[in-house]
């Protein structure tokens, strides 16, 4: 049956409190007009791209600090400073973790917006494959085992 709102620790999230968080998350994603952009459409862990920061008038933001937030909304969320923009408003970013990453820029306490990106794995992750094999073996294997038992009993 499972849960409705928060995680079981605190029970499902108070819809309330999370409404704006969700709204903000969504707005910072595909709904926001990004002021932080990257040079490639497809991002992959370990492959450098150029991030460009422009202000509302479209002018490059110089000396803006660019940060990358990996695994947002999770217990393993971590923020990394990417660097400072040059005269063209650009900085090189090499995504260090796969998954959803939020790239944000600020300077002198002024936010220059943020954009979300999907960072792909640079190959099939061995640890992920191992976890999948173990989980699938126990769950699907257990299911098949049980059904076969029931079938043999019926016969």
């Amino acid at each position: 049956m499972s849960r409705y709102f928060k995680q079981p620790t605190n029970r499902l999230a108070s819809i309330a409190g999370c409404i704006f968080v969700v709204a903000a998350t969504l707005l910072s994603g595909p709904f926001a007009s990004a002021e932080v952009s990257v040079s490639e459409e497809v991002l992959t862990r370990g492959r450098a791209v150029t991030a460009t920061v422009v202000d509302e008038s479209g002018a490059p933001v110089v000396d803006g600090v660019v940060r990358a937030l990996y695994f947002p909304n999770s217990k393993v969320e971590r923020e990394v400073e990417v660097g400072t923009t040059d005269a063209a408003g650009q900085v090189e970013w090499t995504p260090s973790h796969p998954g959803i990453a939020v790239l944000s820029a600020s300077s002198d306490d002024t936010s220059h917006g943020s954009s979300s990106y999907s960072v792909r794995f640079d190959g099939v992750p061995a640890s992920g494959l191992a976890v999948f094999v173990v989980a699938a073996t126990i769950l699907l294997g257990g299911l098949v085992f049980g059904i076969r038992r029931l079938q043999s009993e019926q016969r």
Binding site: K6, P8, A16, F31, S118, E153
Partner: protein
């Protein structure tokens, strides 16, 4: 002369009904988002341990209880633990009925969102205005605007009543109608999910979403919240502590193999949860939408945001997604209602139709309360509507405490009162899988110890703010509720009074005690 107890027509019907009960809204969207929150693949380790150490053994107890006593949960516990046992059983039934009330309110919202998906509001270029919250057109993302427009309007009550009418029809003739319904609904749920998996994986980069879901970050393994989350999750996902599984098992012949049944139902539920993650994460990753460990947010905001990116396919996909939610929710809600109906019939020997209508009338009143469109927070700083606030607060106690308390008490009553050795012998007598003495140790010591840990940690978090990340105070103390400041205190008091009070009244009211196999 008493009528013979109704029975499932086939074992497949029972398996589908029990797995349909377990597979609900949370399986589709919550589990994978919860796993993402707790270190993705790393969460599978405590989750699988919890499944094997708590989930499967407790399900065997609940099935075994139904088989051994041949009656519903309160009377089954009462015949072992006397009045105290029966009281625990009624506490479970009343707690489950309170959950049913808001669960069906949520299903009503799913129907409302299904309507919005078909009408096109969810995929329009400009989101709808939400007058009750002073939100102008285009100010919020489509899904959020549509949802708040729905719940701040009286029309959501119509959808809630509509879902109740569906439920009444499906439980009206007991196992006959339930079995007929689940034989259609459960396969459909699986088929639709397979369709979503194919669609998700066929999106550019979709497979990387699945990589993300399974790749572990073991740095979280030392965090007590992860373990607490896993053990709580397994209890909820398997529909344990509601009295459902005992009621359903009591409709099977005595010779049924409940050990294997428990393995099949548990694994079917958890396998579904796992593959649902494929569909959810491939879509979210492909369209760069951040998951959140909240079922309502995932159902009504986050998944629609991802589906909206499908362009021309969004309308149909969205409608199918909300149909999936409705089917999964219905297969669970009918089991919740049946648990209450069967308990009342077994004790008071009332007619089924009368009992279904009586339970449903109480349920409808409760669901309408949870769906109240009364706006108490125009700024959307908190819950938005009174009903949503009450829903969240009651859910916190009914799910977070109620189910675990029932699980703990039933293990103690069965483990020490029956005792469990007798239950094990009964289960072994009709199963090809023989349970060893380890099962006795699990039910008598291990599972109660784990559940005491889960309860204790929840209590420490709520009362003493241990590990709390948000504002200190009782759960919900930081909500902004105009004119209803004390709801964070009132809600747990109401929950306690209702469950303990009505539970005690039902236990003390004279009635039929039931006989083995009746």
């Amino acid at each position: 002369m008493s009528k013979a107890r109704q029975q499932w027509k086939s074992r497949a019907g029972f398996i589908l009904a029990a797995s349909g009960s377990a597979i609900g809204l949370g399986n589709i969207v919550f589990f994978s988002a919860n796993a993402y929150k707790f270190g993705a693949g790393a969460f599978y380790l405590p989750y699988l341990i919890a499944l094997l150490a708590v989930g499967v053994p407790v399900m065997m107890v609940e099935f075994g209880l139904g088989r051994e006593k041949g009656t519903s949960f309160p009377l089954a516990l009462g015949r072992i633990g006397g009045r105290a046992g029966e009281f625990a059983g009624w506490f479970a039934v009343v707690n489950a009925l309170m959950i049913t009330m808001y669960y069906i309110a949520i299903l009503g919202w799913a129907v409302g969102m299904w309507w919005s998906a078909l009408a096109g509001d969810l995929w329009a270029e400009t989101s709808v205005a939400v007058p009750a919250f002073d939100v102008p057109e285009g100010a919020l993302p489509n899904a959020i605007a549509s949802f708040f427009d729905l719940i701040s309007s009286p029309r959501n009550i119509i959808f809630v009543v509509f879902v109740w009418l569906l439920n009444i029809g499906l439980v009206s003739r007991g196992t006959k109608t339930i079995e007929g319904a689940v034989k259609v609904m459960v396969p459909m749920i699986w088929l639709i999910m397979v369709g979503f998996i194919i669609q998700g994986l066929s999106q550019p980069g979709g497979v990387h979403g699945v990589f993300l879901l399974f790749t572990p970050d073991f740095s979280v393994m030392g965090d007590i919240n992860v373990w607490h989350g896993a053990f709580a999750q397994i209890f909820f996902t398997l529909s344990l502590g509601f009295g459902i599984m005992t009621a359903y098992a009591s409709y099977l012949p005595k010779k049924s193999d409940h050990t294997t049944n428990a393995v099949v139902v548990s694994m079917m539920n958890c396998s579904f949860e796992m593959i649902a993650g494929f569909a959810v994460f491939s879509l979210l990753f492909a369209f760069t939408v951040t998951p959140k460990a909240s079922t309502l947010s995932m159902m009504f905001f986050i998944m629609p945001a991802a589906i909206a990116e499908l362009g021309a396919a969004a309308k149909l996909t969205g409608a199918v997604f909300f149909t999936l939610l409705l089917l999964a929710g219905l297969s669970s809600s009918i089991s919740l209602i049946e648990a209450a109906v069967s308990a009342v019939i077994d004790k008071f020997k009332t007619r089924r139709v009368t009992t279904v209508l009586a339970v449903s009338l109480v349920g409808i009143a409760g669901s309408v309360m949870f769906a109240l469109p009364m706006v108490i927070d125009g700024g959307l700083d908190s819950n938005g509507t009174l009903g949503l606030t009450i829903l969240d607060l009651i859910d916190h106690y009914a799910f977070g405490y109620g189910l675990i308390i029932v699980g703990l008490v039933e293990c103690l009553i069965v483990g020490w009162g029956l005792p469990v050795e007798k239950l094990r012998a009964t289960l072994n007598s009709s199963s090809s899988i023989q349970l060893g003495r380890w099962f006795d140790i699990m039910i008598k010591f291990v599972v109660p110890a784990i559940l005491i840990f889960v309860l204790g940690y929840s209590l420490l978090t709520d009362v003493f703010d241990v590990g709390k990340e948000a504002t200190p105070g009782l759960y919900g103390a930081d909500y902004v509720m105009k004119g209803f400041d004390a709801l964070d205190v009132i809600a747990p008091v109401v929950w306690l009074v209702m469950t303990l009070g009505i539970g005690a009244a039902l236990a003390l009211t004279p009635g039929h005690k039931g006989a083995d196999g009746e």
